[in-house]
């Protein structure tokens, strides 16, 4: 009895192990990546943060890495002159737009692989999948698409140019991303690709959480979950500061 049970569990164990070893694709054991932080905390004094990413590759090839922020719906508006005044006129709405996008490569992208691969994996600003709502022709969408990327770059939320991935030796690499103070909160995806002779031979995904913590998080939560109490708290705080202000003023 005892022996049989042992036998069954042993079989199960082997099956499980077989499953585990079968499931990872060719990619997982050729590329390993680690982040300096699992999460980045936005505190009251938050003034941007540096995210360091270290990795090891087991095969020859180039490395490309994308850092993609949470997806949002965005509207791009175009100003035109109306009676001499600049007003918003036409607009285009895009959905599933990363609120933040940065990327890094070991060599210039065009030397690493072709457009098809970059497009499939959304590596590089030109290959972002920006989906416009409504039925506009690609020619109509293009200026809005370009404007979206440009506006995001000016705001510091999209990369101006790729970061360079540095190699410590043939296997170890490292790259630093400087996140700006206005970095949007949410779940970030970090995709790392190992590309050899134009073909993706390894891939690794990690996630990063960026969010408010401490006092600032409490206020945010309070404001979003108890709107009514938050409103009264804001009123009360202002009334109290008003009284205190009055007595300070009166002293002289």
């Amino acid at each position: 009895m005892m022996r049989r049970l042992f036998h069954i569990s042993l079989c199960a164990l082997f099956a499980f192990a077989a499953l585990l070893s079968a499931k990872p694709s060719m990619a997982d054991d050729v590329l390993a990546v680690d982040l300096s932080d699992r999460s980045i905390n936005i505190t009251t004094g938050f003034n941007g943060a540096r995210l360091s990413i270290h990795g090891v590759k087991m095969l020859p090839g180039d490395v490309a890495l994308t850092l993609t922020g949470p997806e949002r719906r965005m509207v791009v508006r175009r100003k035109d002159k109306v009676f001499g005044m600049w007003m918003n006129r036409e607009s285009m709405t895009f959905r599933n737009i990363p609120a933040y996008y940065d990327f890094a490569t070991s060599r210039p992208l065009q030397n690493i692989t072709d457009r098809a691969v970059l497009e499939e994996n959304t590596i590089g600003l030109d290959f972002l999948n920006l989906e416009a709502l409504g039925r506009a022709s690609p020619q109509d969408v293009e200026p809005y698409r370009e404007a979206l990327i440009r506006n995001k770059q000016v705001a510091g939320l999209y990369a101006l140019e790729p970061e360079t991935i540095g190699f410590i030796n043939n296997q170890f690499f490292r790259v630093d991303f400087d996140l700006p103070p206005n970095v949007p909160s949410g779940e970030y995806k970090i995709e790392t690709y190992l590309i050899n002779e134009g073909v993706v031979v390894g891939r690794h995904q990690s996630t990063l959480r960026i969010g408010q913590v401490g006092a600032s998080a409490s206020i945010y939560k309070f404001a979003n979950q108890n709107e009514i109490f938050y409103g009264f708290a804001a009123v009360l705080l202002a009334l109290m500061s008003g009284i205190i202000g009055y007595y300070i003023m009166r002293r002289d």
Binding site: T43, G45, F46, N47, G48, R72, R73, M74, V75, V76, R77, R78, K79, D80, G84, M85, W86, M87, N88, S91, P143, Y144, A147, L148, R150, N151, K152, V154, P181, N182, P184, S185, Q212, A215, S216, I219, Y220, A223, N224, E227, I228, Y230, G231, F232, A233, A234, V235, L237, A238, L239, S241, G242, I243, I244, G245, Y246, I248, M249, R250, D252
Partner: protein, 303 residues
Amino acid sequence: MQIYLPIAEMTVPVESILALGVAVGFLSGVFGVGGGFLTTPFLIFFGIPPAIAVGTQANQLIAASFSGILGHLKRGNVDFKLGAVMFGGSLVGSVLGILIFRLLQHTGQIDFVISALYIVLLGAMGLMMLYESLRAVLKNKIEDGETSKLQHHPFFLALPYKIRFMRSRLYISALIPAGIGLVGGLLVAIMGIGGGFILVPLMIYVLGMPTLLVAGTSLFHIMLTSIFTTLLHAIANNTVDIVLAFMLIIGGVVGAQIGTRAARKIRGAYARVLLSALLLLVCCFLMGELFIGPLDIYHTEVR
């Protein structure tokens, strides 16, 4: 020093926000105006979304108007009944204002409307005040309040729902103060300003109430309206940033202190010349933005 604003979800330099508060407080100390007309454009200039600038500004107004009222209260210069009737009108005005704000936000015209309203209001008030104060400076005498009372106009006399306001010694239709309150409510909700510089002349010339009571009563009305609007903004739009409001309030208290001291040294007419110049300066700045055009004609926002 940088501070992260939890609701605006961005970092701002503490010094600049405090300095803005001080500047606005200084103006209120010297001239007795709220100075909201400066705060909203500057907050937007700092990159704070217009909706949050306006919502937070309403919150800051509560503190500023309340500490102002306390002073007038001691001298008994507040007509509570009249203020309450005006508040009745402003309830409608603020709800309407917030609806208009959301509609404009949806169609993407909010920035334009805020700028245009500021240009018209600041330009008109600035020119009128400049004319009046320059005349006073040149003639070198104190002007008597004009006595062309609009409340005797047949239109205002014919309105129904007449009420007696004992404190102000008025017997007028309740619709007049309520109508003025409605304008006040719209101003707080759409522009984030108390609108004292519009309410005060209306109360003097249209209501014909004693000048002594005007300041306290308009502050009382502004306080009630901004409390109501702050609640609406917080509940409906989630656009009140307590941290930002608190910094503006602290700056305001310090600035008002400096302002009241400075006021003793500046002659009234000269002070009004300065204020009108300031109003016109902000007006020109906004006009430049509207007419010369933006750096990039495309603009992206999160929906």
